[in-house]
């Protein structure tokens, strides 16, 4: 495996990867790397097919780096990045970008925070200038913090407090994690959003928003040399920051099944069945992704067929594999369980299906189907500069290797039905399981037994 860190003594490190699809077709993805003296890492990908670029800055900070009391600061701070810097008025950033034909936005996750501008390629310098200005000279004021705090609280009300999927997700992670920061939501607890101070923001900014904690990814119609000089010109002078090693508490292995019920306004219960799995860089992750496909990808998948078509017990079922920097979850979610059916009945169908993976090997055809699905999804995901950058950035942030997602294709191809069985046995155990249900309010028992952890 190519490790970028080994190669960075070169002016350019050139990484090229070809993907051989099962026929003669090839898909390639090449990136060049350059590192500034202040530690800023630059990844570039050329594509001259259209006069456009995607410019992205990835900061290696997310809700994982927070502590109780100021949960949600990564995300609130991301909003503050639009509130003006030395040469840019509040909210002016997006105005300038749009006036030049671009769009911009940002997002925060558990593991990282990213900012991007998608622009005509003639406007590359504009994006470089604007992003450098707010990395180096953000203006943080009590006034803008106050108004943005209100905006974020509305965002929380929209996404979590008044949303079934938000409630289920928050309930699930707070039940499965007891020590690790993944136990709180990226948007933070409402009381913490209220409590974050300007000082907290200032110290968060000086600690995490530094060139040696970030990666710039530029894709599209660019010239490598020009791009490097431009990035050097605007980012080169920004000093790196002193950061102490963070101690992130790791989760102890779960040794007993956990349950949590949330009572909500609905006629149709929801269900999540979750198992702890390792971090994104672990070799078992690609195998779990194949399992995810076999269970719920497409209408011929095992659980879709059984729950949606045969039992007709719910409106949707899907599985997901967290690919996080630290160990995350494998989750099967069932939405809107129909009248005449119960979450327990659906949970036991899921359990039977997982037990079957442990006792019988999947067929070669099912495995081949899952591989084909992974491969096609990957190719379709390379259609735009923006999404290519997003894939590289996530892969880098979570596994340390920007091309890791591409290299996984080899792993999918070499995984055997025996390994699938082995991985299923390893993780799908009762003591590693957590079941969270959203139940109709009317069914709430008079005296609620504390079933949650």
């Amino acid at each position: 495996m190519l490790r970028l860190s080994v190669l960075c003594f070169l002016v350019f490190s050139y990484l090229l990867i070809y993907m051989h699809t099962s026929t003669a077709e090839q898909v390639k993805l090449d990136i060049k790397e350059h590192r500034l003296e202040n530690g800023l890492r630059l990844l570039m990908h050329q594509d001259h097919s259209s006069p456009i670029i995607s410019f992205q800055v990835w900061y290696d900070v997310g809700s994982r780096n927070e502590r109780p009391g100021i949960t949600g600061i990564s995300h609130l701070f991301e909003h503050m990045m639009f509130k003006g810097s030395r040469n840019v008025e509040p909210e002016e950033h997006s105005r300038i970008i749009q006036r030049n034909g671009g769009t911009d936005n940002a997002f925060t996750t558990e593991d990282m925070t990213a900012y991007f501008e998608n622009l005509p390629s003639s406007q590359l310098e504009l994006a470089v200038k604007l992003e450098a200005d707010r990395m180096a000279h953000l203006r943080l004021t009590a006034e803008t913090l106050e108004s943005e705090r209100q905006v974020v609280k509305e965002e929380r009300r929209m996404r979590v407090d008044n949303s079934l999927s938000g409630k289920l997700n928050e309930g699930l992670y707070s039940a499965t994690f007891t020590r690790h920061p993944y136990r709180w939501p990226v948007i933070g607890w409402m009381s913490d959003i209220d409590a974050i101070t300007l000082d907290d923001c200032n110290s968060f900014y000086s600690t995490h928003y530094a060139p040696d904690n970030s990666t710039v990814i530029i894709l599209g119609d660019i010239d490598f040399d020009e791009t490097v000089s431009m990035v050097e010109k605007y980012f080169g002078h920004i000093p790196s920051a002193e950061r102490q090693d963070e101690l992130i508490p790791m989760e102890e292995p779960q040794n007993q099944e956990r349950h949590k019920d949330l009572y909500v306004d609905t006629r149709f219960p929801w269900l999540a069945v979750a198992y702890h799995i390792p971090e994104a860089a672990h070799d078992d992750i690609p195998v779990l992704e194949l399992i995810e496909n076999i269970l719920t990808e497409g209408r011929s998948s095992r659980l879709y067929r059984k729950i949606i078509y045969e039992d007709q017990s719910a409106l949707s079922v899907f599985a997901s594999v967290d690919k996080y920097k630290d160990p995350g979850l494998f989750v099967i979610t069932v939405r809107s369980i129909k009248q005449g059916h119960t979450p327990d009945e659906v949970a036991s169908v899921i359990n039977e299906s997982l037990e079957q993976l442990k006792t019988e090997k999947v067929t070669e055809r099912e495995l081949e189907k899952a591989r084909n699905q992974m491969e096609t999804n990957l190719v379709f995901g390379l259609q735009t500069n923006f999404v290519r950058g997003i894939r590289l950035g996530f892969s880098l942030a979570r596994t340390g290797d920007p091309l890791g997602f591409f290299k996984n294709l080899e792993k999918y191809r070499h995984t055997t039905t025996g390994e699938i069985q082995k991985v299923a046995r390893k993780y799908f155990t009762p003591e590693n399981r957590t079941i969270v249900r959203l139940l109709p309010k009317g069914e709430k028992p008079e005296t609620v037994k504390s079933t949650s952890q």
Partner: protein
């Protein structure tokens, strides 16, 4: 991507619209006329028509070995018979549940095995069968599209399954305040017109649909001379056209019945409805009135005006309600353009305590725009956004195809894409003023509020008479 959305917290909701992938042979290269030198978008597409009337669009794009096929049938939920709301949607869903030669599982297994996708989307005016795969599977998916579009089996058990699924889907809309608002808003806006319900239909309508009506609907609407077939991706047009002829050449044309719809009712004054959902701490606000048709002559004026009013992070609504007041996370306006007048609407939300204050600000912005128009600076910024953004809006073959399908489906001029940028640049202050005066009507609007009614009722009454509804 949908699966990881949960952990994304974007700065603002980015309206990423997932456009369905959508011979007279003449090659066309589109150039961004008048743009900076070098800022040229090239796209290769061809149109053709088979003898049976099937229109064909082919877009070549060789960056990746992928292909997408989209068969658009010009019949959607607007074609539902009276009292049978949801029929077109169920008919579409049933296409993949079995054909003369394949059962439901075989169809799913075939598309899943090659890693492809097959989806059936019923809209108001049309239905799309969309399928994607690596290009080496082109023939497989082309045959599959033909098979499901032309030879569905329509079995009773599958029909009952989809009827039940659709009814549950309609009922569970009550779990989601945005869906509740959308359904009530359309009902209040459109009365007896079929745009009054989302394509999935109503519980009452779904219960009434019979198998024979579905068979009849399919027979009279799924016709080659009522359809547009689009193929985009890593293709060779000559071979593609030959394959299409072979697969669809024997599809028999038929007589297309003209669709006659009731008029869209007029709105007088404020029509306010509060839908009571007692668990809500945040009020969903949806308001608007009938907008314009897709082929409206003022399309470009309206597009620029709407950008200034409520699209994206530089718009007036965003600035006033979010940036200056911190009352919401999102405030957007949109013209949903259809064959007939789709709605013009504004959507926002705020905690119950400030919901009516927020609503009043929206109404003020709307009145202000109608009375005072836009500034020259706003118009120039809007134009430079759309002109500069053009190559970004044409990055993928699907984006290119969507624009060509629009041109074909809505009967826009043949040179629509060639003149696209010129049309934007040509919008004048007078033109946009005229469009605002003609299109916006802030005194006559429908207002839908989904909330804990007791929190907002008294204040809402200050705006006018309020109709209170339960879930």
């Amino acid at each position: 991507m949908a699966k990881i959305i949960n952990s994304y917290f974007c700065r603002y909701v980015l309206p990423i619209i997932l456009i369905p992938f959508s011979i007279l042979v003449n090659y066309r290269y589109l150039q961004g006329a008048g743009m900076d030198e070098g800022n040229v978008v090239s796209m290769k597409y061809q149109k053709a028509k088979l003898d049976n009337g099937l229109r064909i669009i082919m877009v070549e794009h060789h960056e990746l070995p992928v292909v997408a096929i989209d068969l658009l049938v010009k019949a959607g939920s607007a074609h539902d018979p009276q009292e049978k709301s949801g029929l077109a949607h169920i008919a579409a869903q049933l296409l993949r549940e079995g054909t003369r030669s394949k059962d439901s599982l075989e169809i799913s297994e075939e598309i899943d095995f090659i890693g492809g996708s097959l989806s059936l989307d019923c809209g108001y005016d049309s239905t799309s069968i969309t399928t994607t795969a690596l290009v080496k599977h082109f023939k497989t998916i082309l045959d599959l599209v033909s098979e499901v579009a032309r030879f569905p089996a329509f079995q009773s058990k599958d029909m009952e399954f989809h009827r039940d699924k659709a009814i549950t889907s309609v009922l569970r809309e009550k779990d989601d305040k945005a869906s509740i608002a959308g359904r009530h808003f359309s009902e209040m806006l459109y009365g007896d017109h079929p745009y009054a319900h989302p394509p999935i239909g109503t519980v009452e309508g779904l219960k009434e649909i019979s198998k024979n009506e579905i068979i009849h609907f399919h027979k009279t609407n799924y016709l080659p001379n009522n359809s547009i077939l689009t193929v985009v991706g890593d293709i060779d047009p000559a071979n593609t056209l030959a394959a299409i002829k072979e697969t669809f050449g024997d599809w028999k044309k038929g007589k297309i019945q003209e669709l006659i719809l009731p008029p869209i009712p007029e709105i007088n004054g404020y029509k306010i409805r509060i839908i009571d959902k007692p668990d809500l701490t945040q009020t969903e606000i949806l308001l608007g009135h009938p907008g314009i048709t897709r082929n409206d002559p003022d399309y470009f004026q309206v597009m620029l005006m709407n950008y200034i009013l409520g699209r994206g992070p530089v718009s007036r609504l965003y600035t006033r309600i979010r940036v200056e007041k911190g009352l919401t996370y999102g405030a957007n306006s949109r013209f949903a353009m259809r064959k007939l007048q789709g709605p013009f609407y504004i959507r926002t939300y705020s905690k119950n305590e400030t919901a009516i204050e927020t609503l009043r600000l929206v109404l003020d912005e709307l009145k202000n725009l109608t009375s005072n128009g836009v500034t020259k600076e706003e118009l120039d910024s809007a134009k430079s956004y759309f002109v500069g953004h053009f190559p970004l809006s044409m990055e993928t073959p699907a984006q290119i195809a969507a624009k060509i399908i629009d041109q074909e489906f809505y009967g826009l001029p043949e040179d629509y894409l060639d003149k696209y940028l010129d049309n934007i640049k040509a919008v004048s202050m007078e033109g946009i003023d005229r469009a605002i005066k003609r299109v916006l009507d802030p005194g006559n609007i429908v207002i839908t509020l989904v909330s804990r009614a007791e929190d907002i009722m008294e204040e809402a009454k200050g705006l006018g008479e309020v109709d209170l509804k339960g879930l």
